[in-house]
């Protein structure tokens, strides 16, 4: 019986070959392709990262320094994954951001692995909490103090847009008038065409970073009576461009300088909105917490179903610590009250009730 007889008519379904896009991971919750932020703790909160094709708006802290750290991590992760990078900025030279990316380090693995987690008898309420230091390294670790020297081959993957780069700008004739915005959108279009990212089969993606969008350098002329709709129109156009190509956009806005209605409109438009608040602004909270600032997930849109995406364990407010080398996000908690003389008892108790954001692990 040498002839090959087909016994069943079963045919294996061959999936059309999907090129594996560099730097993305399939999300467990949503089955969207998620792009890592570079900060592993942020990835853990937002379900693996930003969905491919989405627009993320970061509302900067008052001096913009922590937002800048996040954009550096975002671009550095892109450099590691050999993605295309586009940095746009009017506040400073966009090349400065690309030349000062943090370099990757491999942290030594912890040797004391907790093998048998004993049942906690006294602190049994802590049993269900997720262990923060997982031995599984989920992404790259970066060191902010050492600037990354990009290999020559990767320098072709970079693009910038900024004041010194673009020549004479023309004002638009339709409702979108701002020349800076039109020029930025054109530059992004050209970059996408150059790298063929809208063909649908490209194995790579483009990370776009726009720093301090909406700062006075952008010249959005606002009178008291009308809002500058160029701001929101540009965000919407950016979202439309990014959605149909292999690209992700991260835009940081100085929300304290802008009209609050503009900020709330941009929250409606964007897919993911993260707000950073430095504790330098609020001297009362600084005594209570040992973090340097608060990170709030104002919005995480679900692009494939109705179910809302809440952060890890249901919280949307986290704290972050930024040292010279590292940036880390962690859950808020009250630090152990060892020195009770520092803050007066009335102060701490009233703020303890009102800061509903801090998640105390003890509930009676």
């Amino acid at each position: 019986m040498a002839a090959n007889i087909k016994i069943s008519s079963f045919q294996k379904r061959i999936k059309p070959s999907n090129p594996n896009i560099l730097g993305t991971k399939i999300s467990a919750v949503n089955s969207t392709l998620n792009v890592s932020f570079g900060v592993t703790s942020l990835d853990q909160i937002i379900d693996g990262g930003l969905p491919l094709g989405s627009l993320c708006v970061v509302e900067e802290d008052i001096y913009g320094s922590y937002a800048k750290i996040i954009t550096k991590y975002f671009l550095a992760e892109g450099a590691m994954q050999k993605n295309f990078l586009l940095s746009a900025s009017l506040n400073e030279n966009p090349w400065d951001l690309l030349n000062n990316l943090p370099s990757p380090v491999t942290e030594p693995r912890e040797t004391n692995i907790i093998e048998n987690r004993e049942e906690l008898k006294i602190a049994w309420r802590y049993e269900n909490l997720t262990l923060e230091d997982n031995n599984q390294r989920l992404g790259n670790a970066f060191d902010l103090s050492i600037p990354y020297v990009m290999p020559e081959t990767q320098k072709a993957n970079l693009a910038v847009w900024g004041e010194t780069v673009t020549p004479n700008l023309q004002r638009g004739t339709g409702t979108l008038k701002n020349s800076n915005c039109l020029s930025l959108l054109k530059a992004i279009e050209e970059a996408i065409k150059k790298w063929e990212l809208d063909s649908g089969t490209s194995p790579n993606l483009l990370r776009i970073v726009v720093s301090s969008f909406g700062s006075p350098f952008w010249q959005f002329d606002e009178n008291k009576s009308s809002l500058s709709t160029d701001f929101t129109a540009t965000l919407l156009l950016l979202k439309s461009i990014v959605r149909s190509t292999n690209a992700v956009a991260l835009v940081t806005i100085p929300h304290q300088l802008l009209n609050q209605s503009l900020v709330s409109r941009s929250r409606h438009l964007a897919d993911v909105v993260i707000q950073l608040k430095s504790l330098r602004e609020d001297p009362h909270l600084r005594d209570l917490m040992d973090v340097h600032g608060i990170l709030e997930l104002k919005k995480v849109a679900n692009l494939t179903s109705l179910k809302p995406i809440l952060g890890q364990d249901g919280t949307t407010t986290y704290g972050f610590k930024a040292t010279k080398r590292k940036f880390k996000i962690e859950k808020l908690h009250l630090p152990p009250a060892i020195d009770d003389d520092k803050s007066s008892p009335d102060h701490s108790s009233s703020l303890g009730c009102s800061s509903a954001a801090s998640k105390t692990n003890l509930d009676f």
Binding site: T175, T229, L236, S240, S261, R265, L306, K307, L310, T316
Partner: protein
């Protein structure tokens, strides 16, 4: 998953023909737009979906979880999608006058005319059968630089379409924030012209795993009632509860 939205809105007993629904969303009212789309699809109505800030893929993905297939309906010509992120991108790349978003780049005396004509031409093909016009996030037009009076005029034109062809229904959703005067004024004005107003808010104290938000249902015509509900969004639908009963 029992979808209790239609029962709460009393739309299982009251016909939606000839009526206009306004969804005012303070945080995220998209579950109700999708529920109304599902309801229309299940009843076999023709759907004209107009969107300004989402792509077809998004409505299709959410729709499949809720039980209807947008791509199928599009191919059978029972649904038409106007606008969307793809058209917005095309308006930037190639500026052709029939694109509804062309007003962004070329001056026009009546910016929303192309959009309205597109909708009207679709409807005129469907006069005999029941149809629904669903406009998602009308406030995006304000974000794109159109003046509020033009947006109101556009809404009035769509509303008159429904009143002329009485087997159609209009669903409009508009996102507001209390700080934004223009949009709040628009939504208040539109709510006077609508028959059913759904006001969706998030919870006042933050986010919760038990509830997604609150909904106020107000009928301006026959039942003349106003009711409050709490709702929770699941992967496959939305469940409505009387206030306080979500955890029972």
């Amino acid at each position: 998953m029992a979808d209790t939205v239609m029962k709460a809105l009393m739309l299982d007993k009251i016909q939606i023909d000839g009526k206009s629904v306004l969804i005012v969303q303070h945080s995220d009212g998209s579950p109700f737009v999708h529920s109304l789309l599902t309801h229309s699809a299940r009843q076999g109505r023709r759907i004209c979906l107009v969107s300004f800030s989402q792509s077809i893929g998004y409505y299709h993905n959410v729709g499949t979880r809720l039980g209807w297939n947008l791509n199928n309906l599009l191919s059978k010509n029972q649904a038409v999608f106007i606008g969307g992120l793809h058209t917005l991108k095309n308006s930037f790349q190639s500026q052709c006058p029939s694109n509804p978003f062309n007003f962004l780049f070329n001056p026009a005396s009546c910016p929303l005319q192309a959009l309205f004509l597109a909708i009207e031409s679709v409807i005129l093909g469907w006069i005999e059968q029941p149809f629904s016009v669903v406009i998602d996030e009308l406030d995006c037009l304000l974000n794109l630089g159109i003046e509020p009076k033009e947006v109101i005029k556009f809404f009035q034109q769509c509303h008159s379409l429904i009143q002329t062809y009485s087997n159609g229904s209009l669903v409009v959703s508009i996102g507001v924030t209390p700080l934004d005067k223009e949009i709040t004024q628009c939504s208040t004005l539109l709510s006077h012209w609508s028959d059913l107003i759904l006001t969706e808010r998030g919870l006042q104290t933050g986010k919760s795993r038990d509830l997604t938000g609150t909904l106020t249902v107000k009928w301006n015509v026959s039942p003349f009632s106003e009711q409050h509900f709490h709702f929770k969004c699941f992967d496959r639908g939305v469940k409505m509860f009387a206030p306080g009963t979500a955890v029972l």
